[in-house]
């Protein structure tokens, strides 16, 4: 009884101290145990999460794999189409280049630098030049002849006029004239002209009113047209005037000489 009480008391004390000791121990270890528990729990949670992630990861990889394969195949198909298209276009372009080359060569050779056209043009030009030269020569010749003709007509008219003014120098039977010198073999041409000139006494009528045709053989005029406008030359033919010309009143009898 007492001993049991003492034992119980000491046990109670021991129990208290044990209890206190165990509490204090537990208190001390609480931190560590708590930490350890936290660590274990976190590790476990981490494992859980990792397992979850790895699961997700694997699934994501699968999805991405499938998707990438799909996209890549689509792109590849597209690339194949594009490559085919490009090949076709290259072919067409090459053919177009061939056509254009031929066409351009043809066009340039026919319309722009036509060799044969140029050759024939230059030949034509050469012939045209020759033609023009010849025609110009002929024209010049013609004009020159006309001018010479006019000159000669003028000269002849002047000579005839002179002979008309010098009619008094005509040689007579008694006295040879100035132009009919005995020392000459034949009379001077002025002498011939003088013999042919018909003297007209100056009348008030203009001598241009008398239309006289002339058949005079010009002594030095081979290519004469033969129509001198001079009214002073005698005619071998009868005067063919449109109206009869009356002799002037009171004129002396005219001397007609051959």
């Amino acid at each position: 009884d007492m001993a049991e009480l003492l034992k119980i008391k000491s046990e109670a004390e021991d129990f208290q101290s044990e209890y206190f000791y165990r509490n204090s121990q537990a208190e001390e270890k609480r931190q560590k145990e708590n930490q350890a528990a936290t660590q274990i729990q976190s590790w476990f949670r981490a494992c859980k999460v990792r397992a979850y992630f790895s699961h997700l990861h694997k699934k994501a990889v699968i999805i991405q794999k499938i998707w990438r394969g799909f996209t890549a195949r689509a792109r590849f198909r597209q690339m194949v189409k594009a490559a085919y298209f490009i090949m076709k276009m290259n072919f067409y372009e090459e053919m177009a280049v061939r056509i254009q080359r031929r066409w351009r060569g043809f066009f340039v050779r026919k319309y722009i630098h036509n060799f044969y056209a140029r050759k024939s043009y230059l030949e034509g030009l050469f012939r045209k030049n020759e033609l023009v030269r010849r025609e110009l020569d002929e024209l010049e010749e013609l004009q020159k002849r006309e001018r010479d003709c006019l000159e000669m007509v003028k000269e002849q008219t002047a000579k005839v006029y002179q002979a008309y003014r010098l009619h008094h120098l005509l040689s007579t039977k008694q006295c040879p004239g100035v132009f009919n010198s005995p020392f000459r073999s034949a009379p001077h041409e002025m002498e011939q002209l003088l013999r042919q000139v018909k003297y007209q006494a100056p009348t008030r009528l203009a001598p241009g009113g008398r239309a006289c045709l002339l058949g005079m053989p010009g002594p030095a005029a081979p290519s004469f047209s033969g129509t001198l406008g001079s009214p002073w030359i005698k005619t071998t033919q009868t005067r063919c005037s449109s109206r009869p010309i009356l002799p002037p009143i009171g004129s002396k009898k005219q001397q007609v000489r051959w």
């Binding site: 140029r118 030009l125 030049n129 023009v132 030269r133 110009l136 024209l139 010049e140 004009q143 001018r147």
Partner: protein
């Protein structure tokens, strides 16, 4: 009695005035008397006589004044200073035709000397009065008025503009249609003087329909008229392409070519001037002229004339050849190059030679064919000679150098190039050698010819700075030949051989 006496006094005075004026007019027609007349103070004497009551005295006084002013510009200035012009102009409107002719003659005589005097005539209203005269019936008055307007318009563009502003041009074109030859000539010459200054004036003349009338007169036999007509057409067409095209559309060309054989040399010169002015604008216009055979005619013309008359024809050939190589080939085919060579040798004036050198350059610079044509006419040594000659003017030297260079750059005709290896300055030599280096690598016959004619020898003697273009060309040529030949022709080879001979030990 005394009334008759008084009237007699007046009649005597009038007779003596008339006599004085007529004698002065006769004296003034001879140049030696004018000095003395001027010293005697004839100007101040004539001035009151121009206001005389009697019309014939007025006319004769005006005629005398005109002859005096015609002769020298001091007298013309005296006419202006004495204020005779305003009263002349004033009375131009009212008097009869002889007075108008004499007054127009005075205005012409004053205006012809210098632009200032013409300006004085314009300032006192002379132009309007003259244009009024152009509306008269009498052809003599119209001729005098047109002549005076022509002399006024000749000096510069401003005066021409004042003539045109007074409305002279339509009246002048009407004068062209009159039957009198002198009037036509003067009208054509006045139109030519008006249109020569600026394109606007030429356009005004064209707008009045002048071209058609001028074109009709081309076939007229009168030589002086043709001179003026062609001169007018060339002054119109020189300004712009459109004016030249209008002149061409009047279809003058086959007919104008015929006028190139006219006996009058100025007609021919004016035809070639017209052709030159038309040709210089565009290739199409040149084509028109070439197609109607103008080339042949111009080249024959060049053969027939001498001196300054050749210049427009030479320039025309140059302009035609400059447009395209087709046209240049046409010039060559029409035997233009030998003719130009003749011109170059016969003419002595430097400006004509310079023009010829320029034309030759224009012909030869298109293709090797053209350059060959130039080279076969032996023109390259001639051009070189002109370039090197110390007496040549600078213009001639510059043009012949340019022509030579441009022809050389296309020339592949080696026999023509050979004479140019000797005695040439290095700037020409490098072109010659360059041409050789282009041709020789490809043509074996040319190589043979080059060696046998001594060209290779000459080439070796040329000293060129190493690294220069000339040296490169020389190397290129040397590489066309086997080494022994090159060494054989190099200078000093005989010494080298002799040295080898001396050192040689027979084995």
């Amino acid at each position: 009695m005394s009334q008759r006496h008084i009237i007699q006094v007046f009649e005597q005075y009038q007779k003596s005035r008339m006599q004085f004026v007529q004698t002065v007019a006769d004296l003034a027609s001879r140049p030696q008397n004018i000095e003395m007349l001027q010293n005697a103070g004839v100007m101040s004497m004539l001035r009151p006589l121009m206001l005389d009551v009697v019309p014939s005295i007025q006319q004769t006084a005006a005629l005398a004044l005109g002859r005096l002013a015609d002769h020298s510009d001091d007298l013309a200035e005296a006419v202006v200073k004495e204020d005779i012009l305003p009263q002349l102009v004033h009375s131009l409107a009212s008097q009869n035709r002889f007075y108008k002719k004499a007054a127009a003659f005075v205005l012409r005589a004053v205006a012809k000397h210098s632009p200032e005097l013409s300006q004085a005539v314009v300032a006192c209203g002379g132009v309007d009065a003259l244009v009024l005269c152009l509306e008269e019936f009498d052809p003599g008055v119209k001729e005098a008025a047109a002549w005076a307007l022509g002399f006024i318009a000749r000096h510069n563009a401003l005066l021409s503009q004042s003539v045109v502003d007074a409305g002279a041009v339509p009246l002048l074109v009407l004068c062209l249609l009159e039957p009198e030859m002198a009037l036509k000539r003067i009208a054509a010459s006045t139109l030519s003087d008006i249109s020569k200054h600026t394109p606007e004036l030429a356009q005004t003349v064209v707008d009045c329909g002048a071209i058609a009338h001028l074109a009709q007169m081309i076939l007229n036999p009168d030589a002086k008229l043709k001179r003026q007509v062609f001169s007018a057409l060339s002054q119109i067409s020189k300004h712009s392409v459109s004016l030249a095209e209008m002149v061409i559309e009047a279809e003058i060309f086959p007919a104008a070519v015929a006028c190139l054989r006219d006996p009058d040399e100025y007609v021919r010169k004016n035809v070639t001037t017209l052709m030159r002015e038309v040709v210089k604008h565009t290739p199409e216009l040149s084509q028109v002229i070439v197609n109607c055979g103008g080339m042949a005619a111009v080249i024959d013309y060049l053969g027939n004339c001498r001196g300054n008359l050749r210049l427009p024809a030479i320039m025309m050939l140059g302009y035609v050849a400059a447009h395209s190589e087709n046209l240049a080939m046409a010039v060559i085919l029409s035997k233009g190059v030998p003719q130009l060579a003749l011109c170059l040798s016969e003419e002595s004036e430097h400006h004509i030679k310079a023009a010829t050198a320029w034309s030759i350059g224009q012909i030869g610079h298109h293709t090797p064919e053209h350059a060959k044509a130039v080279a076969t006419a032996h023109l390259l040594p001639k051009l070189l000679e002109l370039y090197m000659d110390a007496n040549s003017s600078e213009d001639l030297q510059a043009k012949s150098k340019k022509a030579l260079k441009s022809v050389l750059q296309k020339c592949t005709y080696l026999p023509g190039l050979e004479p140019l290896l000797y005695d040439v300055p290095s700037n020409i030599l490098k072109h010659v050698v360059c041409q050789f280096s282009k041709v020789l690598p490809h043509d074996s016959k040319a190589r043979r010819l080059f060696v046998t004619s001594g060209g290779l020898k000459k080439l070796q003697e040329i000293e060129a700075e190493p690294g220069s273009l000339l040296q490169e060309h020389i190397n290129a040529i040397n590489s066309c030949f086997p080494e022994e030949i090159v060494r054989y022709y190099s200078p000093g080879y005989s010494e080298v051989l002799l040295e080898r001979l001396e050192n040689y030990q027979p084995a």
